[in-house]
């Protein structure tokens, strides 16, 4: 019996030890990440979305920063756009978002409302961050209710990317101040002469519809609501569907097939509305030459355009607000950083960086020339507010617009669906 008991005790102890070891292991893997701050060093997590070229460039800028600030280490986190915000939402709700992260206008109010964003004004007042030398008033893009919750790294505007060869062959010209009627007439001419569609599917792009509304004295969003009526968007989608049916706009099925390639670079259509800094991708993807053309107008003058921005924000609960502010300041002002990033996130937002980077390749030059032209034309307006929930509504607009294009939903029903989903999104 005594032996027996000993054995049992040993077994129990072993079992306990094994369990403790297993749990211990789980515990240690669970809490990695926090860096030792004992030696005065600080680690900041920095997150962004984007493709591989952006990641390579940003990593270079991080190395530059770490060299200048040897006591601050930067831990990069990056994904594509879709998963970025899903991940961010989960991290932020768990109180563990990155210290510094890329942001955009559609998310400012949402995360401000939830208390995630640090008001950088105090850091600017303390001299850790410079808010000077921003071009064309883009600094205002990061302001909400008098707070500076984001700082722009670049500025860009909506544009029409065209297949230059196709436009030339069809004998159509994209000129400043052209109207929507003239634009659709050009698409018709392209279809007649080249037997391809003119556009890849303009009517599901929220930011383009916003321009169209602005041309007509409205806007997609007000501070708290949608800035248009069900009838407005029903009309917009009815026209769009008609043009899909007539072949003026590319077959949505085909557009879906060629993803992640764009319909334009796949040769399915001759033009596509998108942000001007996105245009750089087409040259690599497609066989033709691509260029930027003006946004069609309603009255021959007003394009409704404004400068949008990718921005950097800091987490309100960061343990190192000073260092986060220093990092942001470095990233938006340092000339070397501007040289490395180029126009990947839009035309550089500060004069220091803008002056430091002189584009040499035709793509970047094209984007720069386009924005100069737009600025000179004096059509740039102020960005309209995006209420909390704007991100969900943008996704809904794209999806429902796609259903209309596929003939799966009638425009009037689609408009109803959009409004009911918007209501839920604003309430969330």
């Amino acid at each position: 019996m005594p032996e027996n008991r000993n054995v049992e005790r040993r077994t129990i102890l072993k079992a306990a030890g094994a369990s403790a070891a297993a749990l211990g292991l789980a515990a240690t893997t669970g809490c990695g990440g926090d860096s030792g701050a004992g030696d005065g060093n600080v680690t900041l997590r920095y997150a962004w979305w984007g493709g591989e070229p952006r990641t390579i460039a940003i990593k270079k800028t991080i190395a530059l920063f770490e060299k200048k600030y040897p006591k601050i280490k930067i831990k990069p986190e990056f994904t594509d756009y879709e998963s970025y915000w899903e991940k961010f939402q989960t991290q932020a709700s768990g109180g563990n978002p990155p210290d510094v992260f890329q942001n955009a206008v559609g998310f400012l109010r949402k995360y401000d409302k939830r208390g995630v964003l640090l008001d950088l004004k105090s850091q600017a007042d303390a001299g850790n961050l410079s808010l000077d030398n921003f071009r064309n008033g883009v600094l205002a893009n990061g302001q909400v209710d008098g707070k500076q919750i984001a700082v722009p790294v670049g500025a860009n505007t909506m544009s029409l990317v065209i297949d230059l060869k196709a436009f030339k062959k069809a004998g159509v010209e994209a000129k400043f101040g052209w109207t929507w009627d003239e634009y659709f007439a050009a698409l018709q001419q392209i279809q007649d002469k080249l037997k391809i569609a003119g556009d890849t599917g303009y009517f599901a792009i929220m930011y383009l519809y916003d321009l169209y509304l602005r041309q007509n004295g409205k806007a997609f969003f007000t501070d708290t609501d949608l800035g248009f009526t069900e009838d407005d968007v029903t009309q917009w989608w009815e026209d769009g569907y008609k043009r899909v049916k007539s072949g003026l706009v590319a077959d949505p099925k085909k557009i879906e097939q060629v993803k992640p390639k764009s319909g334009l670079s796949a040769g399915l259509a001759a033009s596509e509305f998108t942000w001007d800094n996105f245009s750089i991708r087409y040259q690599g993807e497609g066989d033709s030459d691509y260029g930027l053309a003006p946004i069609p107008t309603t009255d021959g003058k007003d394009t409704g355009q404004y400068l949008g921005s990718l921005m950097l924000s800091a987490f309100s609960g960061t343990k190192h607000p000073k260092e986060a502010a220093q990092f942001i300041s470095f990233m938006v002002h340092d000339p070397e950083v501007g040289k490395i990033m180029g126009y990947d996130r839009g035309i550089l937002a500060t004069t220091e960086q803008y002056d430091a980077f002189k584009p040499t390749d035709p793509n970047n030059k094209g984007v720069s020339a386009y924005e100069d032209e737009v600025a000179k034309a004096g059509v740039l307006g102020k960005i309209t507010p995006h209420p909390s929930g704007a991100d969900v509504i943008e996704a809904a607009f794209l999806r429902i617009g796609g259903e209309v294009a596929q003939g799966k939903t009638k425009p009037a029903d689609a408009a109803k669906a959009l409004f009911s989903e918007a209501k839920a999104a604003f309430a969330g």
Binding site: M1, N4, V7, E8, T11, I12, A15, A16, A18, S19, A22, L23, A26, E82, S83, W85, E86, Q89, T90, A92, S93, R114, G115, V116, D251, P252, K253, K254, I255, E256, Q257, V258, K259, P260, V392, A395, R399, G402, E403, Q406, K408, T409, A417, A424, A425, G428
Partner: protein, 318 residues
């Protein structure tokens, strides 16, 4: 090991010496067992039971992940039943379950019948057919599928040879769900292996006797094989339909994370995911999850009830 070895000696000791010590011994043994199991138990409590209870609570709240959950009673459920996208997701999922499950099982059974016969290289064939099930869950297969069924890809071009021009299945809301069905059928290996095991159990004498009575291959299959393997068939039907209700990965990847086009592959879990992680409506998503649990439980119950009618267990079991 020591414990197992000593076990037979135990009853004698217990009876002769001290029953109390024996009870204590058994308790010790149990304690050791629980201690060995404790990592698993802790994992279950922390990672499974805890979240489940939490999600049951959230199902009755409005919860956006940031502000504390607000009790709303049955609101989530009433909004859910009226939500056209939710209805669409139920429709898509049912369609998927009803089409994919029988086809997959049919193929699994067919191939199992072929592989049950003795022939050279048998194990090689079995391995080859089982392979897709092993890699089937991976995201990469979803991408491969996307490439196969795209416009002007292999499937599309093959169809065109036969005069069927649908322009690829991926972008077409009328066809894309069937690309997912095809992916599910392709992974028929797991039920096939189970069928194979079942087929091995059928006594050879039955076939011999039937053959003597002049029964042809079809009759033998219908009157002997099918009833004899019906427990295995029941198991497979149960498992595969539960599995099909939970389809997510393939829909998410093939449709480029949007479960479309035009919500054509908006399977239940995909909508649940969108609600929870894209739109931050965790309360709604939890309500959806529990509705799925109840629905699957009901389907399982119906299957169990129906088995009395068509599943034959051996005499001994009765």
């Amino acid at each position: 090991m020591t414990l197992v070895k000593e076990a037979p000696a135990r009853p004698a000791q217990k009876r002769s010496a001290a029953p109390v010590a024996g009870r204590r011994g058994r308790r010790r043994e149990n304690l050791a067992g629980y201690l060995f199991m404790s990592p698993w138990i802790a994992g279950f409590l922390l990672l499974t039971a805890g979240p489940m209870i939490a999600s049951l609570y959230y199902a009755f709240t409005s919860y956006n992940l940031f502000t504390p959950p607000k009790w709303v009673g049955l609101d989530n459920f009433t909004t859910m039943f009226q939500d056209p996208r939710w209805q669409k997701s139920v429709e898509v999922t049912l369609k998927y379950v009803v089409v994919a499950t029988p086809l997959k099982l049919l193929l699994a059974l067919g191939v199992a019948l072929l592989l049950a016969q003795k022939r050279r290289g048998q194990s090689l064939y079995r391995a080859a057919f089982y392979m897709p099930s092993l890699i089937g869950a991976s995201v990469s297969v979803g991408f491969v599928w996307r490439a196969l069924f795209s416009d002007n890809a292999v499937v599309d071009r093959t169809q065109k040879v036969f005069g069927l021009d649908v322009g690829g299945w991926i972008g077409n809301p009328d066809y894309v769900l069937y690309a997912l069905v095809a992916l599910s059928i392709w992974q028929f290996g797991a039920p096939m292996v189970i069928f194979l095991a079942g087929l091995k159990q059928v006594p050879q004498e039955l076939y011999e006797a039937a053959e003597m009575d002049g029964a042809g291959p079809f009759r033998r299959f219908w009157n002997i094989t099918l009833p004899m393997i019906s427990p295995v068939l029941f198991f497979n039907v149960l498992l595969e339909s539960i599995h099909a209700f939970q389809v997510f990965g393939s829909a998410y990847v093939v449709s480029d994370t949007r479960c479309g086009p035009a919500d054509a592959t908006l399977v239940y879990t995909c909508y649940l995911y969108q609600k929870g992680f894209k739109e931050a409506q965790m309360g709604f998503a939890s309500a959806m999850a529990w509705t799925l649990v109840i629905a699957v439980a009901l389907v399982t119950a119906v299957l169990f009830w129906s088995q009395k009618k068509w599943v034959h267990y051996e005499e001994a079991a009765k």
